[in-house]
Amino acid sequence: MGRIIKPVIVVVILLLVLAIPALAVVARSYILAPVAQPAKAQPIAFPHSIHVNVVGLDCTFCHRGATTQADSTVPALQLCMGCHAIIPTTDRPQLEKLVNAFNSGTPINWTRVHQLPDHVHFVHAMHINAGFNCATCHGDVASMAPGAVVQVRDLRMGDCITCHRENNAPTDCSTCHY
């Protein structure tokens, strides 16, 4: 009996050890993938839907850096107050937070949704000027729930390289990594 159990245990342990890298790859593709992460909590439940669908603003009206520089930039509260100074805040707790923050001079610490590693340098201006829509990477942000913007595209190196190859964009390492 013992002569059978011993090799069986060895084989089982061996299979478990061999399964670790396979499981890691699977986890990286599914559980750990950026698109599989739940929406991050935001200090203010900002509704993109109202600003885009109801008011009809362009993405670049607020994210002004997107067409000219690397960062798309989150607008300063001053820009929000351009409109919100005359919009009543009664019974709108989210708006009240905005006005209070502006009046007290404290910036809002938004939680970053699309977080690339430090050694990756993405330049919004190049992609926008090459004719891509914001939605190509960011998805339909206007239809996302208030304060619940999620990442819809992988945006890891495989994703970037595939798109760069398809569009004849440079794939030299020094294009992004420095």
């Binding site: 000219t68 690397a70 590693p117 430090d118 050694h119 340098h121 330049v123 201006a125 190049m126 000027n129 030299d172 390492c173 020094s174 294009t175 990594h177 420095y178």
Partner: protein, 257 residues
């Protein structure tokens, strides 16, 4: 035509002030070197100013040579990297990909100019300096080789700006941090393939150009201009071991590109 970024360093103009070293340190988020680091020979300086003494006391002259990465055309550091972290870009830059590097340090062993540096520790800055870090340059973590990049962030930015404006990069659109900081304009940066650029003109016209360790045949993109000594030391007073002319071979014309 693809760019070939290069540099000329006029040793006649260099005063050894180390402004280039400081500028590079600030631009490229290089960790602060302590005295201990220096004594261990683990200090990180993407550009350093080497000092040589010429002559015997009291007839001594100080000689300075700023040494950045030579950006060799046939770089000895590249073929030894097992993971292709050290590679050649299509613009002729010898480039280090930090996220590929596994820290074997073969490249630094194979570099004759000693311009590759290993991060032996996690880089640290005092709180007062954290806000001055350059957001355009990644901070290299422990276990990664790093080296002069010819300020690739500036190159990329200049190329992208030019592309957005629908033109090519012009000479003088940008320069490296060391060249920008040089008070005597001893360091000049530009495109060697562009015949109208200042560096290409200098390289084509100078009679005192030479490359450091040119005998190795790696064809560095950094061209030095020999010092003009108005008041040379008498031959017999020159130090027999530290005569800088022994280490520098002057060529009439320098083949670059």
């Amino acid at each position: 035509m693809a760019h070939r970024w290069g540099m000329t360093i006029d040793l006649d103009l260099c005063t050894g002030c180390q402004a280039c070293v400081v500028a590079c340190q600030a631009e490229n988020n290089i960790p602060i070197n302590t005295e201990e680091n220096f004594q261990q020979r683990r200090a990180i300086e993407w550009i350093r100013v080497e000092r040589y003494w010429e002559g015997e006391f009291p007839n001594v002259k100080a000689r300075y040579i700023p040494v950045p990465c030579m950006m060799c055309e046939n770089a000895p550091c590249e073929p030894v990297c097992p993971v292709y972290a050290s590679y050649h870009t299509d613009q002729g830059l010898n480039f280090q990909v930090y996220n590929r590097c596994i820290g074997t340090r073969y490249c630094s062993v194979n570099c004759h100019w000693h311009v590759r540096f290993f991060n032996f520790w996690e880089p640290k800055w005092p709180d007062s300096l954290k806000q001055q870090l350059n957001p355009l340059v990644a901070v290299r973590s422990r276990g990664v080789m790093e080296k002069c990049s010819f300020c690739i962030q500036r190159i990329d930015h200049a190329e992208q700006s030019a592309q957005l404006q629908g033109r090519d990069v012009k000479d003088g659109d940008f320069t490296t941090a060391c060249a920008q900081a040089c008070p005597t304009r001893a360091i000049v940066f530009g495109d060697l393939n562009n015949a109208d650029s200042e560096v290409a003109k200098t390289v084509a016209s100078t009679k005192r150009g030479y490359q450091l360790l040119a005998d190795l045949g790696t064809n560095p993109a950094v061209v030095y201009l020999k010092k003009i000594d108005a008041d040379p030391l008498p031959e017999d007073s020159k130090h027999k071991y530290f005569d800088s002319s022994q280490y520098t071979r002057v060529k009439e014309t320098v083949a670059v590109g």
